[in-house]
């Protein structure tokens, strides 16, 4: 337990000088931050009724702890409004679970960034974007919540690029990687419903996202054609692992897939069955490992696992799929998980409420 609030830095009463001061202290992601003045941090903390020193996450390797107070300081710096704070807190509570492995996913040469997918009415309540330019800039909630995640990883958990963040290529998502699931026109149950939360409760799913792959298909008009191109992206030699996947279907693609009566499970099964490479192909590029093949094909193997092939993931449940993005454009996307294996498993938490997981 930290037990004490953050140190106070006295700086001249000049906003631009305060911005420069934050740069000099090494507190930024390379972009200017909002100086974390005391009053703004206090206002941010009003978004959570627990004491400010409450620890919401701790680093598994170093023991460094994240308090609500430190989260609020970084949220102010990112440009968050107080109403966004509950999403940020829920995200770190989810990332704190051992199976997410947030040290590995943030330190690794693999260069993943935590992707946040907010599902449910809270996304609309705080004005998040689930529509055009979904992963792009322009929406304050999407941009600043994602940015706050990065600032916390840097400032609280000391995941400093080049020192403890050894990402070879980095990842644009390391600036901000936060979206809302699109409810409008979505024929499937929302993620928060699938995750078992009570009606009216929103969720944030956290996923160690290794990159972003646009999947373009404007000529296909059958579900198999659209999803065949998605599966191919998922199985590209640079991405294929036993790890999980996130697929965001564009509304134009969902009209074809959902319009043909395919439910989420149908799509997951199709993608899992088709996102695969032959063993010979994997050996040809030096990515085949006996122990990985055995874990996919051994006892407990999913019924869709095909001998002689390495599939992406261990089962269709490893694929989170929903709808997002603008009405126009045959552009879905695939986001691979971090790591060469299953070192990080996606997690989710309710936003703004405490729910006993056993009772959920």
């Amino acid at each position: 337990m930290p037990g004490v609030l953050s140190r106070i830095h006295e700086v001249p009463d000049d906003l631009l000088a305060a911005i420069d001061y934050c740069y000099e202290q090494g507190w930024t992601d390379g972009l200017p931050v909002v100086p974390p003045v005391v009053d703004r941090v206090k206002a941010m903390l009003e978004g959570d009724s627990r004491p400010a020193e409450t620890v919401i996450a701790s680093h598994p390797a170093t023991g460094l702890e994240l308090s609500l107070h430190a989260a609020a300081v970084n949220a102010v710096m990112a440009g968050c409004l107080p109403e966004y704070f509950a999403v940020l807190v829920a995200a770190f509570e989810a990332m704190d679970r051992p199976d997410f492995n947030f040290h590995g996913s943030t330190a690794s040469t693999g260069g993943s960034a935590p992707l946040l997918v907010v599902s449910g009415p809270h996304a609309d309540d705080i004005g998040m974007n689930a529509d055009v330019n979904l992963f792009g800039p322009g929406n304050r909630a999407n941009a600043t919540i994602g940015r706050a995640v990065r600032l916390i990883l840097r400032n609280v958990f000391q995941m400093i690029p080049g020192i403890s963040d050894k990402s070879t290529q980095g990842n644009p998502g390391k600036y901000s990687f936060c979206i809302a699931e699109r409810a409008r026109g979505n024929p499937w149950p929302l993620l928060c419903e699938e995750q078992g939360y009570p009606p009216g409760v929103s969720s944030v799913t956290v996923f160690a996202g290794g990159g972003f792959c646009n999947v373009e298909n404007h000529g296909g008009n059958e579900p198999e054609q659209i999803l065949g191109s998605v599966a191919d992206a998922m199985a590209n030699y640079g991405c294929i692992t036993l790890g999980q996947s996130v697929v965001i279907l564009a509304p134009e693609h969902m009209r074809i897939v959902g319009g043909a009566g395919w439910v989420r499970e149908d799509v997951q099964h199709f993608l899992f069955s088709h996102a695969k490479r032959t063993v010979e192909g994997m050996k040809g590029v030096g990515k085949y490992r006996d122990r990985e093949y055995d874990s996919q094909h051994g006892e407990g193997a999913h019924a869709l696992v095909e001998p002689g092939f390495v599939h992406r993931g261990l089962s269709p449940d490893d694929i989170l799929i929903t709808m997002g993005g603008g009405d126009a454009g045959g552009h879905s996307c695939f986001i691979p998980s971090w790591s060469r294996g299953r070192a990080s498993i996606m997690q989710h938490s309710p936003v703004g409420v405490r729910i006993d997981r056993a009772q959920k």
């Binding site: 609030l5 140190r7 006295e10 700086v11 202290q25 100086p35 003045v37 390797a61 023991g63 460094l64």
Partner: protein
């Protein structure tokens, strides 16, 4: 203007190293590999040099199922009881 620092207030840890060995002759070696490609092979090659040159024995080989998480506490306790020094690695 007063700014809060955005950093952790977790107190700094203190730790100590194991004492040096009086001699390497016949000591027991443990290997903890992190599951990455060639990790086990690399550490085994180092251990073999101690076996060949100092009569050491390789007492135990443990593997981490998660390369980037600390080894489970019970793994470390068990290994510490069985060996005089441990070979492990980090990174790729």
């Amino acid at each position: 203007m007063q700014l809060y620092a955005p950093t952790s207030t977790t107190p700094k840890r203190k730790a100590f190293r194991a004492p040096v060995l009086a001699s390497l002759q016949g000591t027991r070696i443990g290997i903890l590999e992190n599951g990455k490609l060639n990790a086990e092979e690399m550490l085994a090659e180092v251990a073999q040099l101690f076996v060949q040159r100092h009569g050491c024995t390789i007492r135990t080989l443990a593997s981490k199922s998660n390369a980037s998480a600390p080894a489970p506490g019970n793994t470390l306790v068990k290994v510490a009881q069985e060996v005089d020094f441990l070979l492990t690695g980090l990174g790729d």
